[in-house]
């Protein structure tokens, strides 16, 4: 018999834990079906809501209008309590560029840009040969749900239409007076009405050629071809939530090995402790990667999810976030001494970190202090990185810093975990 090789021992340990894993239905459900179940249920349950609560929805307003109509629309919008409009940033008036930068930096996620010719378009008279059209731009972070953006767009559209009507009525009356003078006899009333209808349809409302239109765009640098749906936005969050449940499986497996004495038996074998630890972690890291492939593949098949422009970026984030989850697993395994401790710690950590990291509720609706706290979780960085790739259309280079942060989290967990780890 040849002496045992380290690689052979690591393979044996890995295969053993994978076999144990596939023979455990509860672990399979926890790993593969739980995140999918959350994605499905929560996407439907929260399909009408992403904002809410007592806190207003904040968004930026850039008023480039040279007339008074945009100011009037803004004033109308300020009467809605659930909106908080910001026209300045750090006491300086906002420009389109500064608004875009704030969205890219994640400080705000929506901006409305009123163009310079907004008033001119609204106040133009009926019957003009060359009609002017102004375009109000709504810049939205693609990670925002359409359920969040659409009500804002609808409200804005309503206010613009009202302002449009009010701006055009006086000019319409003048037009009608001119068109109908001198005073027509009573039997010409029908002809007058017809004239009025033509004025309203073709002149005042603009019919198909509206004086003002709304256009939703993404900030520069984000290559979004299609607005993401609720599934596309929920898949990353609940996937990350699901990935970190490996902590429970890994730490539970370590505790079982200690309790049942199998670690003790392995310690007597001619095998280094580092080999034992690698052999213990590797299968769970592989399970994490399989879990990611499973969830993403099913999300593509069932919900039509797309993976953005950078497969390398998705792979890099997936490798890093899986390393974080496995690292946290060894950390918990090192800290928990009993099954009861493990259960409590796992629930506390996994639900707490997922909630803070924005897996359940988007971080943009959180107060700023809670958003800052969320940055101390790997979940927030992983979620942001996935959203960069999957819904914001960013590439590998843009997510690299976030992959670096995730790798740092993983190293931190591994170092503390290995330092505190005891085989017996």
């Amino acid at each position: 018999m040849k002496g045992p090789s380290m690689l052979n021992q690591i393979c044996a340990l890995t295969i053993k834990d994978l076999r144990i894993f596939v023979k455990d239905p509860a672990a399979l459900i926890l790993t593969f079906l739980q995140p999918l179940m959350f994605i499905l249920i929560m996407s439907y349950a929260l399909s009408g809501l992403y904002g809410g609560g007592d806190r207003p929805i904040r968004f930026l307003i850039v008023n480039q209008d040279q007339g008074r109509q945009a100011a009037a629309v803004i004033k109308d919008m300020q009467t809605i309590k659930s909106f908080a409009l910001e026209t300045t940033w750090k006491d300086a008036p906002l420009s389109r560029q500064s608004a875009e930068r704030l969205i890219i930096e994640g400080k705000r996620n929506l901006a409305v840009i009123f163009p310079a010719d907004f008033s001119a378009a609204l106040e133009q008279g009926p019957g003009m040969q060359e009609r002017r059209t102004a375009k109000v731009i709504v810049i939205a972070d693609p990670a925002l749900s359409s359920q969040f953006v659409d009500p804002i767009m609808g409200t804005l559209n309503g206010f613009i239409e009202r302002r449009s009507f009010m701006a055009m009525v006086p000019k319409g009356i003048d037009y009608l007076y001119e068109a109908s003078s001198p005073v027509k006899p009573r039997n010409d009333r029908d002809a007058f009405k017809a004239q009025a209808e033509r004025a309203m349809e073709g002149g005042l409302s603009g019919k198909e050629n509206k004086p003002v239109t709304l256009e939703q765009v993404s900030p520069p640098g984000m290559h979004v071809e299609k607005r993401p749906n609720a599934f596309q936005q929920n898949v990353p969050g609940y996937t990350i939530y699901g990935i970190f449940w490996i902590v429970s499986l890994l730490a539970g497996s370590v505790l079982r090995e200690k309790r049942e004495g199998t670690f003790r038996r392995l310690l007597i074998a001619p095998m280094g402790r580092a080999v034992m630890l690698i052999g213990k972690l590797l299968p769970f890291y592989m399970i994490n990667l399989m879990q990611l492939i499973f969830i993403f593949a099913l999300s593509k098949l069932l919900f039509g999810m797309t993976f953005g422009h950078s497969v390398a970026g998705v792979v890099a984030v997936s490798l890093a976030v899986s390393a974080c989850a496995t690292g946290l697993g060894i950390f918990v395994a090192a800290v928990a001494r009993t099954e009861a401790q493990l259960g409590g710690l796992t629930v506390l950590l996994l639900l707490g970190l997922s909630a803070l990291g924005g897996c359940f509720v988007p971080r943009f609706v959180m107060p700023s202090w809670l958003k800052a706290v969320g940055l101390a979780t790997p979940h927030a960085w992983a979620l942001d990185a996935y959203q960069d790739l999957l819904v914001r259309g960013y590439g590998f280079a843009e997510v690299l810093p976030k992959v670096g942060v995730l790798a740092a989290f993983a190293v931190l967990f591994f170092v503390i975990g290995v330092w505190r780890f005891r085989f017996e």
Partner: protein
């Protein structure tokens, strides 16, 4: 094969193994006997490279177990008190895993696993999950796992705890077979009858110390043909103990707390004389025990307490 000199192991200020020495020859079955907490598992854990000693020297086949653990590990096998197996895996998968860890591959691996399953008579349950096995079957598989790499030295830590009589006999027969094959075995137990049957020599341990070490026959011989223990009012113990030394067939009489212990070559002759002695000294007998000589009685004689107290 195994050499232990002045071994000490402490947890804090508490010495769980206190300066013990013994050696085990190649092919010998050596028993460590004692109640729970005597320090047997600590000794076996140090020998199996799991614990570092705080003092003394321990070597196996000339290799120091602390400094040369890598040399020691391939030659030792360990059958722990716990069932150190993976319950959701099959017997075959369990043995395959441990065989791989020791470097078996391919056909050599499957041959080894199958012969090990034959050895413990579990071939027909090879592909059933271990969690469906009876306690005795699990114990047998536990032994097979400890022997998978054909070690030269085997540590058996209480291998018959919670085992049915049939499996216990199977284990005894198997251990005897291993001895015949020349394996050196260190066997811990608190069942004296096992030690009497299996061990060439035994060390009786209590509170981390070795109280006696010899062959079972010689240890039992310490009690001649029997031991009489009589409990008396404490003020009468010294006079009865002194008088008992002159009774017929008495080899040794001593006292421990309020008990007088008498080792005799003929308990049936000594007993009437003892009763007359107590009567003459006005010492009321509170209890009287006449024990046949065995290792259990040796332990009682040495420590004043029973093994399973």
């Amino acid at each position: 094969m195994i050499d232990v000199r002045g071994l000490i192991k402490r947890y804090g200020s508490n010495a769980v193994v206190n300066n013990i020495s013994f050696s085990v020859a190649e092919g010998e079955i050596f028993g460590l006997l004692g109640p729970n907490g005597a320090g047997k598992t600590t000794v076996i854990s140090i020998l199996a490279t799991l614990l570092h000693p705080d003092g003394g020297a321990v070597s196996i086949s000339g290799y120091d177990v602390t400094r040369q653990a890598n040399r020691v590990k391939p030659m030792i096998g360990f059958v722990p008190q716990d069932l150190a197996l993976y319950p959701t895996l099959s017997a075959f998968d369990n043995l395959s895993f441990f065989a791989r860890i020791y470097g078996f591959k391919g056909k050599a691996l499957s041959d080894k696993v199958e012969s090990s399953l034959d050895m413990v008579d579990l071939r027909n349950r090879a592909h059933d999950a271990v969690q469906t096995f009876s306690g005795g079957m699990k114990r047998r598989l536990n032994i097979a796992a400890g022997l998978i790499h054909d070690p030269r030295v085997l540590f058996l830590d209480e291998p018959t705890v919670a085992v049915d009589p049939q499996s216990r006999n199977f284990i005894f027969e198997h251990v005897e077979k291993l001895k015949r094959a020349g394996m050196t075995i260190l066997y811990t137990t608190h069942y004296m009858e096992e030690a009497e049957r299996l061990c060439d020599r035994v060390a009786i341990m209590d509170h981390g110390e070795i109280l006696a070490l010899d062959t079972p026959k010689k240890l039992i011989g310490l009690l001649a043909s029997g031991l009489i223990r009589v409990k008396l009012p404490s003020d009468k113990v010294p006079v009865v103990a002194a008088g008992a030394r002159d009774l017929p067939h008495v080899r040794e009489a001593s006292s421990q707390d309020d008990v007088v212990k008498i080792v005799t070559d003929d308990p049936l002759s000594t007993l009437p004389a003892l009763i007359r002695l107590c009567d003459a000294r006005s010492a009321a007998m509170l209890s009287l025990e006449m024990l046949e000589p065995n290792l259990e009685t040796v332990f009682l004689h040495l420590t004043g307490k029973r093994l399973r107290e």
